[in-house]
């Protein structure tokens, strides 16, 4: 099970552009590595989609390919306008979904 960490601000002023940083534990197996003992190719297994939503609306998303490093890091911006809730969602190729929520208060 992938473990996700998010660093998003709790408070902001209207009009502020804030930076959000996320990290998730995942091997991001590219399908190009070989098992050193048997010589067999280790099957590909990656997270291929990341989505960031605010109050249910997607404001940033990303497609990931085999070239994204293990334990993927992602940072991006958000323009604060009103209070609400962030939701960050990671889609695994095998259908596993990890999500994390965080609240934002706009003064």
């Amino acid at each position: 099970m992938a473990k996700a960490r998010v660093k998003a601000p709790k408070k902001a002023k209207a009009g502020d552009i804030v930076t959000i940083k996320t990290l998730i534990t995942h091997k991001m197996e590219s399908g190009r590595r070989k098992n050193k003992k048997t010589g067999e190719v280790i099957p590909r297994h990656i997270i291929d989609k990341f989505t960031a939503k605010f109050n249910g609306e997607t404001f940033f998303s990303s497609d990931w390919h085999g070239a994204i490093s293990a334990n993927p890091y992602m940072s991006f911006s958000f323009k604060a306008s009103k209070s609400g809730e962030f939701e960050f969602i990671w889609h695994d190729e095998k259908g596993e979904i990890t999500s994390k929520k965080s609240k934002l208060v706009v003064a």
Partner: protein
């Protein structure tokens, strides 16, 4: 006298043989696992629907020398007001020298505020990384960044 002649011949033959061997090895390397600039160009064409890209607006930050190809920090920023009628729709990152040219794609909205994003990628060898920005009005911008990779990061 005859003995000398034979020795000279031998050395020449050796040089020719080893030269051919080295060439074969190099040819084997480049065709075996790595994406070619043509493959990368094909992928770019698919992403942009064949639209012509102009240089500028997009900036891709990479370390000049990446010691570990397994995790190379990459940062991208595009000049744009990010308003509802003028914003950056997508940014695509492409590695010419990786076994597969596609790295990742970012999709922005006016809610992003700034077209900035950062992540970490695997790079197989010293190469050029191409950034493509697609704007809301359909214009396409691009940039190329050279990166030196000490230890490649695509397994083997």
């Amino acid at each position: 006298m005859t003995k000398m002649k034979v020795e000279v011949l031998d050395r020449r033959q050796f040089v020719v043989a080893s030269g051919a061997g080295a060439a074969a090895i190099i040819a084997g390397f480049s065709s075996a696992a790595n994406a070619t600039p043509e493959k990368a160009a094909e992928w770019i064409k698919k992403l942009t629907n064949g639209a012509k890209a102009t240089e500028g607006k997009i900036k891709v930050d990479l370390p000049e020398i990446a010691e570990n190809g397994n995790t190379v920090p990459i940062k991208v920023s595009v000049e744009s007001p990010m308003t509802a009628d003028n914003y950056v729709k997508a940014v695509h990152l492409i590695a010419e020298g990786n076994p597969a040219p596609e790295l990742c794609s970012f999709y922005f909205t006016p809610m992003s505020g700034k077209a900035n994003a950062a992540t970490r990628v695997r790079l197989a060898r010293t190469q050029k990384v191409i950034g493509i920005a697609v704007m809301s009005d359909g214009k396409v911008y691009m940039s190329q960044t050279q990166v030196k990779v000490t230890i490649g990061g695509c397994g083997g």
